[in-house]
Symmetry: C2
Subunit: 339 residues, 2 copies
């Protein structure tokens, strides 16, 4: 069983863009207007997109969330973000309903810069998990889209969300959205900055102590962590925090990085128990690697080809680690196993 | 000959902090008050600091610039930044005058957020090179200290500085200063974000075409570049830019990373001709690596121990590459060779 822990609905039908354009046009007086997307359009967008690639690449099931870069938390205000997030999550629920053996829903949260309270995100997480059957969420440490206007993840501002995550037994993947800052590039610099900053905020906080059992996923191979490992190791020693080699065993990393040497370095640094297979397809890097002749985001072969991994290790990476991190996957996986 | 391409005067005498505290106290009416630092204080600060370590670690000469994290370009306005930068550069000139065979000066620039013109930096670079004998400069792509308020490095705003760099034949190291943003940590996340963002701004610009021969150094092993190499490779293909493997041959990287595997990955990815030995001592990571028993920033052994490097490669890394990037080092090196 091959489970991709990180997929976004990047090929959503045009009705979603029409909804968003209408939000721009009526920004001063937002209403939750209807989203005009048919089931046939959803099927077409996936049969020729994500599902086609999953079939070609041998991925059975994907954790699937709204298109991260298009959440645009910086845009408008909290109402705008709530409306857009709700329709985005609702669409994911429809996808998971149409293809229950191929997609399991993960929520976007209605974040917005400089909020006084995170309660709107708490409510939407609860709705997505209890009503839509989602198994986790994505959390953006910079809803300003590159201007870093919000308190770090270790600030108590975020704590009601962590309480709800623990109560519902769902994890959060630290994931940015698009940037509105001309100094940054969404997938080139901003995502890497978000990965790195979110990770350091976590490391430099007491979240893991204050919420025992809480789980976070650091995507894209952990940003810079495996390469800059010794920097973070030294900084942890200076700050008298727990040793980095212990800390990395309490968070999770995914393989949405695009070369074999990088995937190997990641697993060597954080260990096989803390890595989840992920492609982030259909994601931000859409090109063929001249060295392999495959798409960069066809990440399964990087793992397949690591000679020093045992078969048991590969089962962990492709199948069991992700279910440990997202325990609410169980009823879905049980149904798939029966079918 | 061992040349450390990246050192900051982090142990500057207390007179410098007194100057800075006075700036805070009289922010509304800044005057360039005198700096009270004696030659003896300078000697003491180095004999028991940087020079002691250079002697212990076998470093002959260091390129030496003001303490990067303390430049605080976000603080006050352009006048404040100019006064502080001038006294900081003047102090480096005194260091290089006292120890001409051990330190060669590199300039800080009087940056400030949201400037209308970069002319103040152009003027200070010219002063530092022509009057103080400096051989390069540090350039901060985010003078706001973590809020990213300025145009990317590829914007014509910065071009007068690049013209001056080419005219004077001096390179710039892309280097952040301290962050004033509570979401960020200076050496844990902000520096990495600056490295990564500055690199992507350069990559996504026409600076190298518009200024043939201009040279930039990306410190700290290139931030995330070696690990996320395939991401940037794919993004370059998507944007129809020159292949990444050609681009990395037009910029330079330093070895201020703190483990052998990271240094090896860097050299493998960008090639031995484009890497400069650097320790960034006495820098932001002051701790002993439990695995080696040495300080993390004692970076020379990482290079010494790479078996697949030839003796000729090591001469490039420790000695000749840096002189190619900083050609104004020549008269200093000639004098040292004669002595």
């Amino acid at each position: 069983m091959i489970i991709d822990s990180h997929g976004h609905y990047t090929t959503a039908p045009a009705g979603m863009q029409i909804f968003r354009a209408t939000q721009i046009a009526f920004l001063g007086n937002p209403v939750k207007h209807p989203v005009n997307v048919s089931d046939d359009e959803i099927r077409a967008s996936l049969d020729n997109g994500q599902l086609k690639l999953q079939d070609e690449r041998g991925t059975d099931v994907a954790l699937f969330s709204p298109r991260a870069s298009h959440m645009g938390h910086h845009f408008g205000d909290e109402r705008i973000s709530r409306n857009w997030t709700e329709v985005s999550n609702d669409l994911i629920a429809r996808v998971a309903g149409i293809y229950p053996d191929r997609f399991i829903g993960v929520a976007a949260l209605p974040q917005s810069p400089k909020l006084k309270s995170i309660q709107g995100c708490v409510d939407e997480l609860e709705r997505c998990v209890t009503e839509l059957g989602f198994v986790g969420c994505n959390l953006n440490p910079d809803p300003s889209g590159g201007y870093w206007q919000d308190p770090p993840l270790g600030d108590e501002f975020w704590y009601p969300l962590y309480e709800k995550m623990v109560e519902l037994d769902v994890p959060a993947m630290i994931h940015g959205s698009g940037t509105c800052n001309p100094a940054l590039h969404t997938t080139g610099s901003h995502y890497m900055n978000v990965d790195n900053t979110g990770m350091y905020q976590l490391m430099d906080s007491t979240i893991l102590q204050d919420f025992p059992g809480i789980r976070f996923i650091l995507p894209h191979g952990g940003g810079s962590l495996p390469f800059q490992y010794a920097r973070f190791q030294g900084l942890s020693i200076m700050a008298k925090r727990e040793p980095l080699e212990e800390w990395v065993k309490k968070v999770y990393f995914d393989t949405a990085i695009y070369s074999q040497d990088a995937v190997e370095l990641l697993i060597k640094k954080v260990g096989v128990d803390n890595v989840l297979f992920a492609s982030e397809m259909i994601g931000g890097v859409q090109a063929v690697d001249p060295a392999t002749g495959r798409q960069f985001d066809d990440t399964k072969p990087y793992l397949d080809e690591i000679e020093w991994l045992t078969d048991e290790d590969k089962v962990k990476l492709f199948e069991t680690n992700v279910q440990k991190v997202y325990p609410r996957m169980k009823p879905y996986m049980d149904k798939i196993a029966k079918a």
